[in-house]
Amino acid sequence: MLDLATRAWEAVTGLYLGLRVTILALVRPKNTVKYPIEKVNVSPRWHGLLALPIDPETGSDMCIICFQCERVCPDRCIHIEATGRAKDRVLTRFDIEMDKCCYCGLCVEVCPTEAIVFVPHYEASTFNRSNLLYDLDDLRRATPKEPIAHGVVRIGGR
Protein backbone atom coordinates (compact mmCIF):
# COMPACT_ATOMS: atom_id res chain seq x y z
CA MET A 1 0.00 0.00 0.00
CA LEU A 2 2.76 2.37 1.03
CA ASP A 3 4.73 1.34 -2.04
CA LEU A 4 1.79 2.15 -4.27
CA ALA A 5 1.36 5.53 -2.62
CA THR A 6 5.06 6.35 -3.08
CA ARG A 7 4.90 5.41 -6.73
CA ALA A 8 1.79 7.47 -7.28
CA TRP A 9 3.43 10.43 -5.57
CA GLU A 10 6.54 10.04 -7.76
CA ALA A 11 4.39 9.92 -10.89
CA VAL A 12 2.51 13.07 -9.88
CA THR A 13 5.66 15.04 -9.03
CA GLY A 14 7.44 13.85 -12.18
CA LEU A 15 4.50 14.89 -14.32
CA TYR A 16 4.23 18.22 -12.54
CA LEU A 17 7.94 19.06 -12.96
CA GLY A 18 7.92 18.15 -16.64
CA LEU A 19 4.76 20.05 -17.41
CA ARG A 20 6.03 23.09 -15.52
CA VAL A 21 9.01 23.30 -17.88
CA THR A 22 6.72 23.01 -20.89
CA ILE A 23 4.28 25.64 -19.66
CA LEU A 24 7.08 28.04 -18.71
CA ALA A 25 8.43 27.67 -22.25
CA LEU A 26 5.09 28.92 -23.53
CA VAL A 27 5.57 32.34 -21.98
CA ARG A 28 9.26 32.64 -22.89
CA PRO A 29 10.21 34.66 -26.00
CA LYS A 30 10.01 32.56 -29.16
CA ASN A 31 13.22 31.56 -30.83
CA THR A 32 11.77 30.37 -34.11
CA VAL A 33 13.09 32.18 -37.18
CA LYS A 34 10.41 32.28 -39.88
CA TYR A 35 13.05 31.67 -42.49
CA PRO A 36 11.83 32.86 -45.88
CA ILE A 37 10.43 36.01 -44.25
CA GLU A 38 13.02 36.62 -41.54
CA LYS A 39 16.68 35.74 -41.75
CA VAL A 40 19.38 35.10 -39.22
CA ASN A 41 22.20 37.60 -39.34
CA VAL A 42 25.09 35.33 -40.11
CA SER A 43 28.36 36.27 -38.51
CA PRO A 44 30.87 38.16 -40.69
CA ARG A 45 33.20 35.19 -40.42
CA TRP A 46 30.60 32.73 -41.70
CA HIS A 47 31.96 30.32 -44.30
CA GLY A 48 29.42 30.99 -47.01
CA LEU A 49 29.93 31.00 -50.76
CA LEU A 50 33.21 32.09 -52.27
CA ALA A 51 33.61 35.22 -54.40
CA LEU A 52 36.26 37.24 -56.20
CA PRO A 53 35.81 40.89 -55.19
CA ILE A 54 36.68 43.56 -57.74
CA ASP A 55 39.26 46.17 -56.86
CA PRO A 56 37.53 49.59 -57.14
CA GLU A 57 40.77 51.29 -58.20
CA THR A 58 41.74 49.10 -61.12
CA GLY A 59 38.36 47.61 -61.95
CA SER A 60 39.71 44.08 -62.14
CA ASP A 61 40.30 41.23 -59.72
CA MET A 62 42.94 41.40 -57.09
CA CYS A 63 44.23 37.96 -58.05
CA ILE A 64 47.94 37.89 -58.80
CA ILE A 65 47.77 34.33 -60.17
CA CYS A 66 50.05 32.75 -57.60
CA PHE A 67 48.15 29.42 -57.58
CA GLN A 68 48.36 29.26 -53.76
CA CYS A 69 44.65 28.56 -53.32
CA GLU A 70 44.68 25.89 -56.00
CA ARG A 71 47.56 24.19 -54.24
CA VAL A 72 46.17 24.32 -50.71
CA CYS A 73 42.61 23.22 -51.54
CA PRO A 74 42.03 19.83 -49.89
CA ASP A 75 39.28 18.98 -52.37
CA ARG A 76 41.18 20.22 -55.45
CA CYS A 77 38.11 22.10 -56.56
CA ILE A 78 39.79 25.34 -57.70
CA HIS A 79 41.07 25.48 -61.30
CA ILE A 80 43.10 28.47 -62.47
CA GLU A 81 44.53 29.19 -65.90
CA ALA A 82 46.32 32.30 -67.12
CA THR A 83 47.93 33.59 -70.31
CA GLY A 84 50.72 36.08 -70.86
CA ARG A 85 54.06 36.44 -69.14
CA ALA A 86 55.32 38.17 -66.01
CA LYS A 87 53.36 41.36 -65.32
CA ASP A 88 51.02 41.02 -68.29
CA ARG A 89 49.48 37.82 -67.05
CA VAL A 90 45.73 37.71 -67.47
CA LEU A 91 43.34 35.40 -65.70
CA THR A 92 41.52 33.33 -68.31
CA ARG A 93 39.92 30.74 -66.10
CA PHE A 94 39.04 30.70 -62.43
CA ASP A 95 36.60 27.91 -61.71
CA ILE A 96 35.43 26.75 -58.31
CA GLU A 97 33.36 23.60 -58.16
CA MET A 98 30.95 24.69 -55.47
CA ASP A 99 29.48 21.19 -55.25
CA LYS A 100 32.87 19.73 -54.38
CA CYS A 101 34.02 22.58 -52.13
CA CYS A 102 34.02 21.84 -48.40
CA TYR A 103 34.00 25.53 -47.34
CA CYS A 104 37.02 25.06 -45.11
CA GLY A 105 38.49 28.50 -45.80
CA LEU A 106 42.08 27.43 -46.40
CA CYS A 107 42.09 29.25 -49.77
CA VAL A 108 40.91 32.45 -48.08
CA GLU A 109 43.65 32.03 -45.50
CA VAL A 110 46.58 31.59 -47.88
CA CYS A 111 45.57 34.24 -50.42
CA PRO A 112 48.20 37.02 -50.16
CA THR A 113 46.01 39.76 -51.68
CA GLU A 114 42.62 38.79 -50.25
CA ALA A 115 41.42 38.20 -53.78
CA ILE A 116 39.19 35.30 -52.78
CA VAL A 117 36.78 35.89 -49.91
CA PHE A 118 33.78 34.37 -48.20
CA VAL A 119 30.49 36.15 -48.66
CA PRO A 120 27.74 35.64 -46.06
CA HIS A 121 25.40 34.03 -48.60
CA TYR A 122 24.34 30.43 -48.47
CA GLU A 123 21.29 30.09 -50.70
CA ALA A 124 22.50 28.44 -53.88
CA SER A 125 20.39 25.31 -54.29
CA THR A 126 19.70 24.38 -57.90
CA PHE A 127 17.90 21.82 -59.99
CA ASN A 128 21.00 21.04 -62.00
CA ARG A 129 24.43 20.16 -60.72
CA SER A 130 26.23 21.94 -63.55
CA ASN A 131 24.96 25.26 -62.15
CA LEU A 132 27.25 24.70 -59.17
CA LEU A 133 30.39 25.11 -61.27
CA TYR A 134 31.13 28.79 -60.65
CA ASP A 135 33.31 30.36 -63.33
CA LEU A 136 35.00 33.77 -63.30
CA ASP A 137 31.82 35.72 -64.12
CA ASP A 138 29.77 33.91 -61.48
CA LEU A 139 32.38 34.51 -58.82
CA ARG A 140 32.67 38.21 -59.68
CA ARG A 141 28.90 38.54 -59.67
CA ALA A 142 28.68 36.81 -56.29
CA THR A 143 30.50 39.72 -54.66
CA PRO A 144 28.05 42.00 -52.87
CA LYS A 145 28.02 45.65 -53.87
CA GLU A 146 28.60 47.01 -50.37
CA PRO A 147 31.87 46.23 -48.63
CA ILE A 148 31.74 43.15 -46.43
CA ALA A 149 33.77 41.94 -43.53
CA HIS A 150 35.29 38.69 -44.68
CA GLY A 151 36.89 35.83 -42.83
CA VAL A 152 40.13 37.51 -41.89
CA VAL A 153 39.11 39.93 -39.16
CA ARG A 154 41.85 39.56 -36.62
CA ILE A 155 41.68 41.26 -33.27
CA GLY A 156 44.58 40.98 -30.89
CA GLY A 157 44.52 41.10 -27.12
CA ARG A 158 41.54 40.52 -24.93
Partner: protein
Protein backbone atom coordinates in the same frame (compact mmCIF):
# COMPACT_ATOMS: atom_id res chain seq x y z
CA UNK B 1 8.56 -30.14 -19.89
CA UNK B 2 9.92 -26.85 -21.23
CA UNK B 3 8.46 -25.42 -24.39
CA UNK B 4 10.68 -25.91 -27.40
CA UNK B 5 11.37 -22.54 -29.00
CA UNK B 6 13.42 -21.34 -31.91
CA UNK B 7 15.80 -18.43 -31.89
CA UNK B 8 14.93 -15.53 -34.11
CA UNK B 9 17.37 -13.36 -36.02
CA UNK B 10 16.30 -9.74 -36.25
CA UNK B 11 17.95 -7.11 -38.40
CA UNK B 12 17.96 -3.57 -37.06
CA UNK B 13 19.12 -1.03 -39.53
CA UNK B 14 21.00 0.30 -41.43
CA UNK B 15 17.99 2.56 -41.94
CA UNK B 16 16.40 2.71 -38.53
CA UNK B 17 15.28 5.91 -36.87
CA UNK B 18 17.16 5.22 -33.67
CA UNK B 19 20.37 3.51 -34.66
CA UNK B 20 22.08 6.93 -34.67
CA UNK B 21 23.39 6.72 -38.18
CA UNK B 22 23.86 3.74 -40.38
CA UNK B 23 24.54 0.92 -37.92
CA UNK B 24 23.16 -2.54 -38.53
CA UNK B 25 22.52 -4.68 -35.48
CA UNK B 26 21.95 -8.39 -35.97
CA UNK B 27 19.97 -9.29 -32.85
CA UNK B 28 19.43 -12.95 -31.94
CA UNK B 29 16.24 -13.26 -29.91
CA UNK B 30 14.86 -16.03 -27.74
CA UNK B 31 11.28 -14.97 -27.40
CA UNK B 32 11.70 -11.41 -26.29
CA UNK B 33 15.09 -11.86 -24.65
CA UNK B 34 18.29 -10.93 -26.39
CA UNK B 35 20.71 -13.82 -26.71
CA UNK B 36 23.35 -12.06 -28.73
CA UNK B 37 23.90 -8.77 -30.51
CA UNK B 38 26.29 -8.52 -33.42
CA UNK B 39 26.95 -5.01 -34.73
CA UNK B 40 27.64 -4.82 -38.45
CA UNK B 41 29.66 -1.73 -39.24
CA UNK B 42 31.21 -0.26 -42.34
CA UNK B 43 28.22 1.51 -43.84
CA UNK B 44 29.96 4.85 -43.41
CA UNK B 45 33.56 3.86 -44.05
CA UNK B 46 35.03 6.96 -45.68
CA UNK B 47 38.68 5.78 -45.82
CA UNK B 48 39.86 8.96 -44.17
CA UNK B 49 43.08 7.33 -42.90
CA UNK B 50 44.09 6.53 -46.48
CA UNK B 51 43.09 9.96 -47.75
CA UNK B 52 45.24 11.67 -45.14
CA UNK B 53 48.32 10.10 -46.71
CA UNK B 54 47.71 12.14 -49.86
CA UNK B 55 47.17 15.52 -48.24
CA UNK B 56 49.51 17.91 -46.49
CA UNK B 57 49.32 18.41 -42.74
CA UNK B 58 47.33 21.64 -43.12
CA UNK B 59 44.79 20.15 -45.53
CA UNK B 60 44.21 17.23 -43.19
CA UNK B 61 42.76 19.61 -40.59
CA UNK B 62 39.84 20.17 -42.95
CA UNK B 63 39.56 16.45 -43.56
CA UNK B 64 39.52 15.14 -39.99
CA UNK B 65 36.54 17.39 -39.24
CA UNK B 66 34.40 15.51 -41.69
CA UNK B 67 35.93 12.09 -41.84
CA UNK B 68 35.83 11.33 -38.12
CA UNK B 69 33.41 12.08 -35.31
CA UNK B 70 31.35 14.80 -36.99
CA UNK B 71 29.38 15.90 -33.94
CA UNK B 72 32.57 16.97 -32.16
CA UNK B 73 34.69 18.26 -35.02
CA UNK B 74 37.05 20.33 -32.89
CA UNK B 75 37.94 17.33 -30.74
CA UNK B 76 39.18 15.56 -33.87
CA UNK B 77 41.26 18.55 -34.89
CA UNK B 78 42.74 18.64 -31.41
CA UNK B 79 43.67 14.95 -31.44
CA UNK B 80 45.26 15.17 -34.85
CA UNK B 81 47.10 18.44 -34.28
CA UNK B 82 48.42 17.30 -30.91
CA UNK B 83 50.16 14.46 -32.72
CA UNK B 84 51.51 16.81 -35.42
CA UNK B 85 52.76 19.34 -32.90
CA UNK B 86 54.42 16.71 -30.69
CA UNK B 87 56.21 15.14 -33.64
CA UNK B 88 57.29 18.41 -35.19
CA UNK B 89 58.15 20.09 -31.91
CA UNK B 90 55.86 22.97 -32.89
CA UNK B 91 55.36 25.48 -30.14
CA UNK B 92 51.82 26.65 -29.36
CA UNK B 93 51.47 30.11 -27.78
CA UNK B 94 49.79 30.32 -24.39
CA UNK B 95 46.75 32.26 -25.63
CA UNK B 96 46.14 29.69 -28.37
CA UNK B 97 46.24 26.87 -25.82
CA UNK B 98 43.61 28.56 -23.67
CA UNK B 99 41.47 29.40 -26.71
CA UNK B 100 41.60 25.76 -27.72
CA UNK B 101 40.50 24.71 -24.25
CA UNK B 102 37.49 27.02 -24.34
CA UNK B 103 36.45 25.82 -27.78
CA UNK B 104 36.91 22.14 -26.90
CA UNK B 105 34.68 22.48 -23.86
CA UNK B 106 31.98 24.26 -25.86
CA UNK B 107 32.26 21.42 -28.35
CA UNK B 108 31.73 18.92 -25.54
CA UNK B 109 28.61 20.78 -24.45
CA UNK B 110 27.12 20.85 -27.95
CA UNK B 111 27.97 17.18 -28.51
CA UNK B 112 26.34 16.09 -25.25
CA UNK B 113 23.26 18.16 -26.08
CA UNK B 114 22.86 16.34 -29.39
CA UNK B 115 23.21 13.06 -27.53
CA UNK B 116 20.64 14.00 -24.90
CA UNK B 117 18.13 15.20 -27.47
CA UNK B 118 18.37 12.14 -29.70
CA UNK B 119 18.31 9.75 -26.76
CA UNK B 120 15.21 11.51 -25.51
CA UNK B 121 13.54 10.88 -28.88
CA UNK B 122 14.55 7.21 -28.71
CA UNK B 123 12.94 6.85 -25.30
CA UNK B 124 9.79 8.70 -26.31
CA UNK B 125 10.55 12.02 -24.62
CA UNK B 126 10.33 14.09 -27.78
CA UNK B 127 10.22 17.49 -26.09
CA UNK B 128 13.74 17.13 -24.67
CA UNK B 129 15.04 17.25 -28.23
CA UNK B 130 13.53 20.70 -28.79
CA UNK B 131 14.96 22.07 -25.53
CA UNK B 132 18.43 20.64 -26.18
CA UNK B 133 18.61 22.03 -29.69
CA UNK B 134 17.46 25.44 -28.45
CA UNK B 135 20.56 25.68 -26.24
CA UNK B 136 22.73 24.07 -28.89
CA UNK B 137 21.83 26.81 -31.36
CA UNK B 138 23.16 29.37 -28.88
CA UNK B 139 26.46 27.47 -28.71
CA UNK B 140 26.58 27.16 -32.50
CA UNK B 141 26.07 30.93 -32.79
CA UNK B 142 29.00 31.42 -30.43
CA UNK B 143 31.04 29.05 -32.60
CA UNK B 144 29.98 30.82 -35.77
CA UNK B 145 31.19 34.17 -34.47
CA UNK B 146 34.64 32.76 -33.75
CA UNK B 147 35.31 30.01 -36.26
CA UNK B 148 32.88 30.76 -39.08
CA UNK B 149 31.37 27.30 -39.07
CA UNK B 150 28.43 25.73 -37.32
CA UNK B 151 29.42 22.09 -37.45
CA UNK B 152 32.76 21.95 -39.23
CA UNK B 153 35.02 24.70 -38.01
CA UNK B 154 38.48 24.46 -39.53
CA UNK B 155 39.76 26.55 -36.65
CA UNK B 156 42.84 24.92 -35.15
CA UNK B 157 46.05 25.14 -37.13
CA UNK B 158 49.46 23.58 -36.63
CA UNK B 159 50.95 25.92 -34.04
CA UNK B 160 47.90 27.79 -32.82
CA UNK B 161 44.43 28.83 -33.92
CA UNK B 162 43.27 30.71 -37.00
CA UNK B 163 41.56 33.79 -35.60
CA UNK B 164 41.25 35.58 -32.31
CA UNK B 165 37.97 36.08 -30.49
CA UNK B 166 35.77 38.87 -31.85
CA UNK B 167 35.15 41.80 -29.47
CA UNK B 168 32.49 41.12 -26.86
CA UNK B 169 32.55 37.37 -27.39
CA UNK B 170 33.71 36.53 -23.88
CA UNK B 171 30.76 38.46 -22.42
CA UNK B 172 28.32 36.50 -24.56
CA UNK B 173 30.03 33.24 -23.63
CA UNK B 174 29.91 34.09 -19.92
CA UNK B 175 26.24 35.07 -20.23
CA UNK B 176 25.57 31.67 -21.72
CA UNK B 177 27.52 30.01 -18.89
CA UNK B 178 25.34 31.86 -16.40
CA UNK B 179 22.04 30.78 -17.89
CA UNK B 180 22.95 27.23 -18.86
CA UNK B 181 22.72 25.67 -15.35
CA UNK B 182 19.05 26.70 -15.33
CA UNK B 183 18.53 24.84 -18.59
CA UNK B 184 20.36 21.81 -17.19
CA UNK B 185 17.85 21.87 -14.33
CA UNK B 186 15.08 21.89 -16.93
CA UNK B 187 16.44 18.70 -18.47
CA UNK B 188 16.62 17.16 -15.01
CA UNK B 189 13.01 18.16 -14.40
CA UNK B 190 11.92 16.67 -17.70
CA UNK B 191 13.84 13.40 -17.45
CA UNK B 192 15.30 12.60 -14.05
CA UNK B 193 12.02 12.88 -12.19
CA UNK B 194 10.00 11.06 -14.79
CA UNK B 195 8.95 7.55 -13.64
CA UNK B 196 8.75 6.22 -17.23
CA UNK B 197 12.27 7.41 -17.96
CA UNK B 198 13.53 5.88 -14.70
CA UNK B 199 11.83 2.57 -15.45
CA UNK B 200 13.45 2.39 -18.85
CA UNK B 201 16.96 3.35 -17.75
CA UNK B 202 17.58 2.48 -14.09
CA UNK B 203 19.28 -0.88 -13.82
CA UNK B 204 19.11 -1.46 -17.57
CA UNK B 205 22.15 -2.41 -19.61
CA UNK B 206 24.55 -2.84 -16.73
CA UNK B 207 28.23 -2.94 -17.65
CA UNK B 208 30.25 -4.17 -14.65
CA UNK B 209 33.60 -2.59 -13.91
CA UNK B 210 35.74 -5.58 -14.84
CA UNK B 211 33.79 -6.09 -18.07
CA UNK B 212 34.26 -2.42 -18.93
CA UNK B 213 38.02 -2.80 -18.53
CA UNK B 214 38.10 -6.04 -20.52
CA UNK B 215 36.03 -4.65 -23.37
CA UNK B 216 38.08 -1.47 -23.54
CA UNK B 217 35.23 0.92 -22.83
CA UNK B 218 36.27 4.53 -22.49
CA UNK B 219 34.92 7.94 -21.80
CA UNK B 220 31.56 8.44 -20.07
CA UNK B 221 30.70 4.73 -20.51
CA UNK B 222 33.73 3.68 -18.48
CA UNK B 223 33.17 6.44 -15.92
CA UNK B 224 29.61 5.26 -15.38
CA UNK B 225 31.01 1.82 -14.57
CA UNK B 226 33.23 3.18 -11.84
CA UNK B 227 36.52 3.66 -13.70
CA UNK B 228 37.94 6.96 -12.55
CA UNK B 229 39.93 7.80 -15.66
CA UNK B 230 39.96 10.89 -17.79
CA UNK B 231 42.72 11.74 -20.26
CA UNK B 232 42.34 15.40 -19.37
CA UNK B 233 43.47 14.59 -15.82
CA UNK B 234 45.77 11.65 -16.46
CA UNK B 235 47.72 13.08 -19.40
CA UNK B 236 46.90 16.81 -19.42
CA UNK B 237 47.11 18.54 -22.77
CA UNK B 238 46.53 22.16 -23.74
CA UNK B 239 45.51 24.08 -20.63
CA UNK B 240 43.73 21.26 -18.81
CA UNK B 241 46.57 20.94 -16.32
CA UNK B 242 45.94 24.47 -15.05
CA UNK B 243 42.18 24.38 -14.52
CA UNK B 244 40.19 22.74 -11.77
CA UNK B 245 37.48 20.26 -12.54
CA UNK B 246 36.14 16.98 -11.21
CA UNK B 247 35.64 13.68 -12.98
CA UNK B 248 32.09 12.48 -12.35
CA UNK B 249 32.15 8.76 -11.60
CA UNK B 250 29.27 6.42 -10.84
CA UNK B 251 29.37 2.82 -9.73
CA UNK B 252 26.09 1.45 -11.13
CA UNK B 253 27.13 1.08 -14.76
CA UNK B 254 23.58 1.25 -16.09
CA UNK B 255 21.97 3.59 -18.63
CA UNK B 256 20.93 6.00 -15.91
CA UNK B 257 24.51 6.31 -14.62
CA UNK B 258 25.74 7.06 -18.14
CA UNK B 259 23.10 9.76 -18.38
CA UNK B 260 24.12 11.25 -15.04
CA UNK B 261 27.82 11.21 -15.97
CA UNK B 262 27.16 13.23 -19.11
CA UNK B 263 24.87 15.67 -17.29
CA UNK B 264 27.55 16.24 -14.67
CA UNK B 265 30.23 16.56 -17.36
CA UNK B 266 28.29 19.45 -18.87
CA UNK B 267 28.41 21.21 -15.50
CA UNK B 268 32.17 20.60 -15.27
CA UNK B 269 32.61 21.94 -18.81
CA UNK B 270 30.97 25.17 -17.73
CA UNK B 271 33.41 25.33 -14.82
CA UNK B 272 36.36 24.90 -17.17
CA UNK B 273 35.04 27.53 -19.60
CA UNK B 274 34.59 30.07 -16.79
CA UNK B 275 38.12 29.51 -15.48
CA UNK B 276 39.63 29.58 -18.96
CA UNK B 277 37.94 32.85 -19.92
CA UNK B 278 39.13 34.34 -16.64
CA UNK B 279 42.73 33.20 -17.13
CA UNK B 280 42.88 33.89 -20.89
CA UNK B 281 46.30 35.53 -21.39
CA UNK B 282 46.93 38.18 -24.05
CA UNK B 283 49.49 37.69 -26.76
CA UNK B 284 50.13 35.73 -29.92
CA UNK B 285 47.61 33.20 -31.16
CA UNK B 286 49.72 31.40 -33.71
CA UNK B 287 53.37 30.59 -34.03
CA UNK B 288 55.03 30.81 -37.42
CA UNK B 289 54.54 27.53 -39.23
CA UNK B 290 54.90 27.05 -42.98
CA UNK B 291 51.85 26.18 -45.04
CA UNK B 292 53.56 23.01 -46.25
CA UNK B 293 55.19 22.09 -42.96
CA UNK B 294 57.52 19.11 -43.07
CA UNK B 295 57.74 16.96 -39.98
CA UNK B 296 60.90 15.05 -39.04
CA UNK B 297 61.06 11.33 -39.53
CA UNK B 298 59.48 9.44 -36.68
CA UNK B 299 56.24 8.37 -35.09
CA UNK B 300 54.07 9.66 -32.30
CA UNK B 301 50.91 8.74 -30.41
CA UNK B 302 48.70 11.45 -28.98
CA UNK B 303 45.63 10.82 -26.90
CA UNK B 304 42.90 13.26 -26.06
CA UNK B 305 39.54 13.11 -24.34
CA UNK B 306 36.91 13.61 -27.00
CA UNK B 307 33.26 13.87 -25.86
CA UNK B 308 32.94 10.15 -26.56
CA UNK B 309 36.08 9.03 -24.82
CA UNK B 310 39.72 8.31 -25.41
CA UNK B 311 40.64 9.51 -28.91
CA UNK B 312 44.11 8.45 -29.98
CA UNK B 313 45.98 9.40 -33.13
CA UNK B 314 49.06 7.45 -34.17
CA UNK B 315 51.05 9.29 -36.78
CA UNK B 316 54.06 8.10 -38.74
CA UNK B 317 56.08 10.59 -40.74
CA UNK B 318 58.68 9.81 -43.35
CA UNK B 319 60.08 13.33 -43.37
CA UNK B 320 57.72 14.50 -46.11
CA UNK B 321 55.02 17.16 -46.03
CA UNK B 322 52.35 14.47 -45.87
CA UNK B 323 51.93 11.79 -43.20
CA UNK B 324 53.19 8.34 -44.08
CA UNK B 325 50.49 6.58 -42.11
CA UNK B 326 47.78 7.70 -39.70
CA UNK B 327 45.86 5.37 -37.43
CA UNK B 328 42.95 6.65 -35.44
CA UNK B 329 41.88 4.91 -32.26
CA UNK B 330 38.24 5.83 -32.20
CA UNK B 331 36.40 5.94 -28.85
CA UNK B 332 33.05 4.96 -30.38
CA UNK B 333 34.55 1.80 -31.83
CA UNK B 334 35.60 0.36 -28.48
CA UNK B 335 32.36 1.48 -26.87
CA UNK B 336 30.44 -0.28 -29.62
CA UNK B 337 32.30 -3.45 -28.71
CA UNK B 338 31.23 -3.09 -25.09
CA UNK B 339 27.65 -2.83 -26.36
CA UNK B 340 27.50 -6.58 -27.00
CA UNK B 341 28.24 -7.17 -23.33
CA UNK B 342 25.66 -4.65 -22.12
CA UNK B 343 22.78 -5.98 -24.18
CA UNK B 344 23.03 -9.65 -23.38
CA UNK B 345 19.96 -10.86 -21.51
CA UNK B 346 17.82 -7.75 -21.82
CA UNK B 347 14.52 -7.40 -23.61
CA UNK B 348 14.30 -6.32 -27.22
CA UNK B 349 12.75 -2.97 -26.27
CA UNK B 350 15.86 -2.13 -24.25
CA UNK B 351 18.09 -2.28 -27.34
CA UNK B 352 17.17 1.31 -28.21
CA UNK B 353 17.74 2.60 -24.69
CA UNK B 354 21.11 0.89 -24.31
CA UNK B 355 22.32 1.82 -27.79
CA UNK B 356 21.39 5.44 -27.24
CA UNK B 357 23.06 5.61 -23.85
CA UNK B 358 26.44 4.56 -25.30
CA UNK B 359 26.45 7.57 -27.67
CA UNK B 360 28.17 6.18 -30.72
CA UNK B 361 28.79 8.13 -33.89
CA UNK B 362 29.06 5.85 -36.87
CA UNK B 363 31.48 8.10 -38.68
CA UNK B 364 33.80 7.69 -35.72
CA UNK B 365 33.39 3.92 -35.71
CA UNK B 366 34.03 3.40 -39.41
CA UNK B 367 36.29 6.38 -40.16
Amino acid sequence: MPLRTEQLMLNMGPQHPSTHGVLRLVVTLDGENIVEVQPDIGYLHSSVEKMMEYRTYLMNVALVDRGMDYIAALANEEGYLLAVERLGGIDVPARARWLRTIMLEFQRLSSHLVWLGTWGIDLGATTVFLYCFREREVILDLFEQVTGGRLHHVYFRPGGVYEDLPPGWTDRALAFCDEFPGHLQEYHDLLTGNPIFLARTQGVGVLPKDAAITMGACGPVARASGINFDVRKAFPYEAYGEVEFDIPTFEQGDCFARYLVRMEEMRQSLRIIRQAIEKLPPGEIRSKVQVTVKLPKGEVYARTESPRGDLGVYLVSSGDDMPYRVKIRAPSFSNLYALTEMMRGWKVADVIAILGSVDIVLSDVDR
